[in-house]
Amino acid sequence: MTRAHKLTLLGGLVLVLLLPHVAGAFARALTVELLIYSMFALSIGILYGHTGMMSFGHAGFFGVGAYAAALMITKLDAGLATALLAAVGSTAILAILVAAVAVQLKGHYFALITLIVGLVLYYLGTGWRSLTNAEDGISFARPELFGTYALGDPMVSYYFFSILAILVIFFVWFLLTSPLGRLFRGLRENDDRARYLGYPVARLKMLSFTISGMLAGLSGGMYALFSGYVSSEFLSWILSGEAVMWAMVGGAGSLIGPILGASLLIWGREVLSSYLIDIYPILVGSIMIVSVIFLRGGLAGAFQQIRDACAARRAPAPDAAANGEPT
């Protein structure tokens, strides 16, 4: 862990702690949402932006994590920590199962399998009413934090979830800037060549997929616990598409990209006029198409290019953080 790492973590925590002093309840709630969805977008960032594998069904992990946490509380009267562990554990198992099969397949077949798995999970969510209560969803009382603080209290909720999210995002950043992150990017660039260097490529891809799935699952669990509610809509392919959109618009290959994309687009959704809300899915689709065709590397990539152009007289930056083209 370098000094830069430690400073950034501190900075993030400070920002989070200061916010309530300058912003009201709505902004606080929005911040937590943005942070949690940023985690979800980052899960796409890890899988696609870094390892080069696209998933169209990632809401499946989000939703499974959410349901795991919720059901732990409603059926087993579990505490907060157990609920979160369930979210992470269940999606880890799911991810390993899916990855074991899917990573053997070539690029677009892999993506199709994730689409299918996502759809299957959605159908299970809407079909298995007795367990999930489908679209009507399950509302539940949130357990207490450390047995004393009520998560129903907005300030408690704000501090807990935002700090947790910052810690998780920091850990993801730490991972992505570590040798493992570099390795994942190598797999994105040329997984075949990595094989000839002796890397167990299939297993590494499974690792990436599992980390990604667990992150999505944790974000889902956190969202359920934050809102006290879960429904089959958490599994919907529209959410899967939104996650892809957030990551791609922001720039899937960097750390800040998915966070930027999620924050910008979710905030945008909040301020959309009521007319535009009616056509929200059309906007999502259009943004996805436009960002793929025109915004190579997303916003983060564009900033990087501007930075590189300005620094043209000095030695170029050593790390290209833009969206990579998977081979």
Partner: protein, 259 residues
């Protein structure tokens, strides 16, 4: 013998790309493999490195059978190769390209690797980069290097895993005169530390670096021997010019072989 094949065969839908090949390379030597296009040279490489399964026969590396192993396993055993087409990690820097190989051999996957170890690995990568003449270019993304530099980087990446056997597939293809000379000089330097097998079309390079030459023709071993003998051999000259050749009791023709 660091590498031996016995009766190695690889068939593609009835076509014998490699046919009952008995081929061996002593440790520490440089072996050149030549032959017209379609002779099976790259296929031989592919079978040895696990890209393709063999259709029969044995492959022994340092006395142990490696037939049927995956490319990852074979790479970890100490064999490294380059390809006819450059194959790098284009958006990673040259240093990172090499680093990946170094990390495969000496590093670990743990994100909690201590900084000291990370710096040690990068130092090793940098040393290799220097040895192939790209020391100044470590920070440039591999995709932005010139073609000749990319070919060099290929070699560097292959070296990064500390192989005992290095297999190069047409390393000088597409290189200019100066770059070819640098490449040949590099191969000679490397030959002091490891065994090298090279597929080459450039005769001058072959004569300069090879201890022995193996000639492949239509998937079979045509001739083997010292460079001067092979080069002055009439049969070899004729197959390169596309004439028919009597080999082991049958007539084989190669109407469009490249000279």
């Amino acid at each position: 013998m660091i590498l031996e094949t016995r009766g190695l065969t690889r068939t593609f839908s009835g076509l014998k790309a490699v046919s009952s090949l008995d081929f061996s390379v002593p440790a520490g030597s440089v072996r050149a493999i030549i032959g017209p296009n379609g002779a099976g040279k790259t296929t031989l490489f592919n079978v040895i490195t696990g890209t393709l399964p063999s259709s029969g026969g044995e492959i022994l590396f340092e006395g142990r059978s490696i037939a049927g192993k995956s490319p990852e396993q074979i790479a970890r055993l100490g064999i490294s190769r380059t390809f006819q087409l450059t194959s790098a990690f284009p958006e990673l820097t040259a240093l990172e390209n090499i680093w990946l190989g170094v990390n495969a051999r000496h590093g670990s996957l743990s994100p909690f690797t201590p900084q000291r170890k990370i710096r040690d690995l990068e130092a090793r990568a940098h040393a290799i980069l220097e040895s192939i003449g790209l020391g100044e270019r470590g920070h440039i993304p591999a995709g932005e290097l010139s073609y000749g530099q990319q070919r060099m980087l290929d070699i560097g990446t292959a070296l990064s895993t500390d192989p005992r056997l290095l297999m190069l597939d047409e390393p000088t293809a597409g290189l200019g005169v100066k770059e070819t000379a640098s490449m040949a000089a590099l191969i000679k330097r490397l030959a002091q530390r490891m065994t090298i097998i090279v597929i080459e079309h450039d005769i001058e390079v072959v004569l300069e670096i090879a201890d022995a030459i193996t000639v492949l023709y239509n998937g079979e071993l045509l001739l083997e021997g010292a460079p001067e003998d092979i080069m002055s051999n009439e049969t070899v000259q004729r197959i390169y010019l596309g004439h028919q050749v009597h080999v082991k009791g049958g007539i084989k023709g190669e109407p469009h072989a490249d000279a």
